[in-house]
C-alpha cells in the first residue's frame, strides 16, 4: 500500500499559543524531514488532525505556505478530538492527513482589493490568506479586515490584529458582541457593523468565514452593497471524516465540502440545492 489515503503522517507539536479561554494555536512540524520540506498547501485548505486513540477532526490550516517549516492550526475545544488536542504539550505527536480541499482563488484575486470578514475562530482560515497576501504585498491592493467575536477575550490572533492594522494599506475593524470594562471599541454583531463601515465594492473581493448565521447575514449585506456574487467568497464548515469525498456526509448538493470546497463563491452556492440554507 504505497499511498494510503487514510494513513496520517506523524507530526510533533513544537509550540502552543493559547488564544482565548477555549481556543489555542498549535504549531506542528512533520516528523519526516523530507516531507516537512516538500509539504505544500494553499491558503483555504485544511488537514485532518489525529490523536491516535481519540480520533480525527478537520481543522483549517491557519499558517501561510509562504512561511515554510511548520504548520499552524487554531483549535477551539468543542468536541472529543479538539478537547483532547487542548490537553497536549509541546513534544507530543499527532497525525496529519492533507492538505485537503480546494483553496481561496489566489491567481484570480491578484491586483484586487481584498475585504476579509470573520467571526470568532473563523479568522483562522482567513489568516492564512491574509498573511499570504502580506507576504506577496505587491500583487494585491488594499486590505480591509472586519472581525468580531463574542467578547474581547474571544478575539483570536490579537497580536497580529494589531500588527496587521499598523501596516500600510491594511485597515482592521474590530467589534465584539459584548464588551467588558476595558473594551473601548465598537460593540455589536459583525453584519450590522459591516453595514456601518460600508466598504466600497470597487475592484474588491470579499472573503467570509464564521458561524453559519453570520455568514448568511454578511452575504446578504454584501449583496445589498452591490458586491457581485462571484466576488463574495465563503469558506464553509461541515462534519467530515474522510476528507476526500468518499465518506458521504459533508455534501451540499453534489459538491463535497471536503473535496470541491470548502471555498465557494456565492454565485456557486446559489445554484446548489440547499446551498444558501
Amino acid at each position: 500500500m504505497s499511498s494510503n489515503i487514510y494513513l496520517p503522517h506523524l507530526a510533533t507539536i513544537t509550540e502552543i499559543e493559547p488564544q482565548t479561554p477555549d481556543t489555542t494555536m498549535l504549531r506542528v512540524v512533520l516528523e519526516d524531514s523530507t516531507l516537512a520540506q516538500s509539504f505544500t498547501y494553499r491558503p483555504g485548505q485544511f488537514a485532518q488532525l489525529s490523536i491516535f486513540g481519540i480520533g480525527e477532526c478537520p481543522i483549517s490550516i491557519a499558517s501561510t505556505p509562504t512561511r515554510k517549516g511548520s504548520l499552524e492550526f487554531c483549535v477551539r475545544a468543542v468536541g472529543q478530538v479538539t478537547n483532547a488536542l487542548h490537553e497536549l504539550d509541546v513534544g507530543h505527536k499527532i497525525g496529519i492527513r492533507g492538505p485537503y480541499g480546494n483553496s481561496f482563488p489566489l491567481a484570480e484575486i491578484e491586483g484586487q482589493n481584498l475585504l476579509f470578514i470573520g467571526g470568532g475562530i473563523g479568522l483562522a482560515p482567513l489568516r492564512s490568506l491574509i498573511n499570504y497576501v502580506l507576504d506577496n504585498r505587491e500583487h494585491y491592493g488594499e486590505v480591509e479586515l472586519v472581525y468580531g467575536a463574542r467578547s474581547p477575550r474571544d478575539l483570536v490572533f490579537k497580536g497580529e490584529l494589531n500588527s496587521w492594522g499598523e501596516q500600510e494599506g491594511v485597515t482592521a475593524y474590530l467589534t465584539v458582541d459584548q464588551g467588558d470594562e476595558r473594551w473601548r471599541g465598537p460593540v455589536g454583531f459583525v453584519p450590522p457593523f459591516l453595514r456601518e463601515i460600508a466598504p466600497s465594492p470597487q475592484e474588491k473581493v470579499a472573503f467570509i468565514c464564521g458561524p453559519p448565521i453570520m455568514i448568511k447575514l454578511v452575504m446578504e449585506a454584501l449583496e445589498e452593497m452591490e458586491f457581485p456574487p462571484d466576488r463574495i467568497v465563503i469558506t464553509l464548515e461541515r462534519k467530515m471524516k474522510c476528507g476526500v469525498g468518499k465518506c458521504g456526509r459533508c455534501n451540499i448538493g453534489s459538491k463535497y465540502i471536503c473535496r470541491d470546497g470548502p471555498v465557494f463563491t456565492l454565485e456557486q452556492l446559489k445554484v446548489l440545492p440547499g446551498g444558501l440554507e
Binding site: 500500500m1 494510503n4 490523536i51 491516535f52 462534519k239 474522510c242 456526509r249 440554507e277
Partner: protein, 330 residues
Amino acid sequence: MKRTKKPDLAKWLNRVAQMYDLFGPSLDGVVQFKRVKSSEQLVFGYANSVVPPKNLFLPQTECLFAFRRERGSIILGPAEGLEKERVLFAIRPCDAHSLLLLDKVFNGDLEDTYYQEKRRRTILVGLACPSPPKRTCFCTSLGIDPLVAEGVDILLTDLGDGYLVEVTTGKGEELVGLSPELFDPSAEGEKPKGEKGKSLEEVVEKIGSLWEDEYWRELSRRCLGCGVCTYLCPTCRCFDLTDVGSTLGGKRFRCWDSCIFADFTHMASGVNPRPTGKERVRQRYFDKFSYFPEEYGALGCVGCGRCSQYCPVGIDIRTIINEIIARGTK
C-alpha cells in the same frame, strides 16, 4: 459457451475452495455471502441475498491500521491485506452492477487502497436471476438485465438440470481451468432471453425541481430513521472513521454509517445542516437520483428492491420514484 451439470458444479466449487477463499450465499440467520469450505454450505433457490455482497469490499467494520505509543513516539502498523485470492460465487446482476458503481467512488482520482485490493483480488462468478423475480425487484427499470451480469468473470444461468457457463475474462478461464473435465464445451447458445427496460432518466431530470416539495416531510414522518435501507443497499457506501483503544495503543476502524442517522452531519459546535428527517430522507434520494448521476454519470440505484422489502414501515423506493415522476417538472 459451456455447460455443466449441477453435481459437477458442486465438485468444481469444492476444487475452487481448495485453491481460493470461496465466498457464496449461505444461511447465517439470513442469506448472505460468507466464506465457505465446501459447496455443501451454499444455499440455492433464493432470489437474492438479504445482505448484499458489498460487505466483502467495504466491510461493515474494517481495521485500517493499528497504532501504539512507544518511547515518546507513535508506531503505525500496516493494515492486514487479503491472504488469498477470493472467489465470490453467485453474485446477482444487480449486485454486480453495484460494484461497478462503487468502483467509480473508490477507484477514482484518490484510490481507496483497502477497497481496491479486495476488488482486484476477487474473482466474480455471476448467477443470472430466476424468473419470476422477487416481488420487490425492479432492476429492469434501471436498465439492468437480470440475465446479464456486467463486470463478472463467469456468468452462470440455471437451466434446471445444469448451468450455462459463459466465461468472459482470463481470470474466469483460469477458474474453469481448475477442472476443465467438469464443463461441456460444446453447448450451443440456448440462453433464455432477458429483458431490459428503459432507464429512469425521467427521475434524474425531475427530482431537482422537488427540493422544497412537501413530499420529503411526508416521507420523513413515516421513516423511523433505522437506516436499514442504507445498510442493505448495495450502492450505499457512507462510512465513519473511529478509533478503538486508548492513546497508548489501538486501532482505527472504518464502519458503515448512514445519512439517515441524526448525528451523521451533527457537528461538535452543535450545528446540524440536516436537522430533521426531512433533510435526511431527501439526501438519500437526491444522492441516488441526482448527485450520483451528476458526478458519475449513472443512477445510484440498481433496483435490487432490498430497501423496499426490509423497510419496517413499508417505504417503497418504487413509490418514491413514481412520486418524483408525478410531482416533478423538467
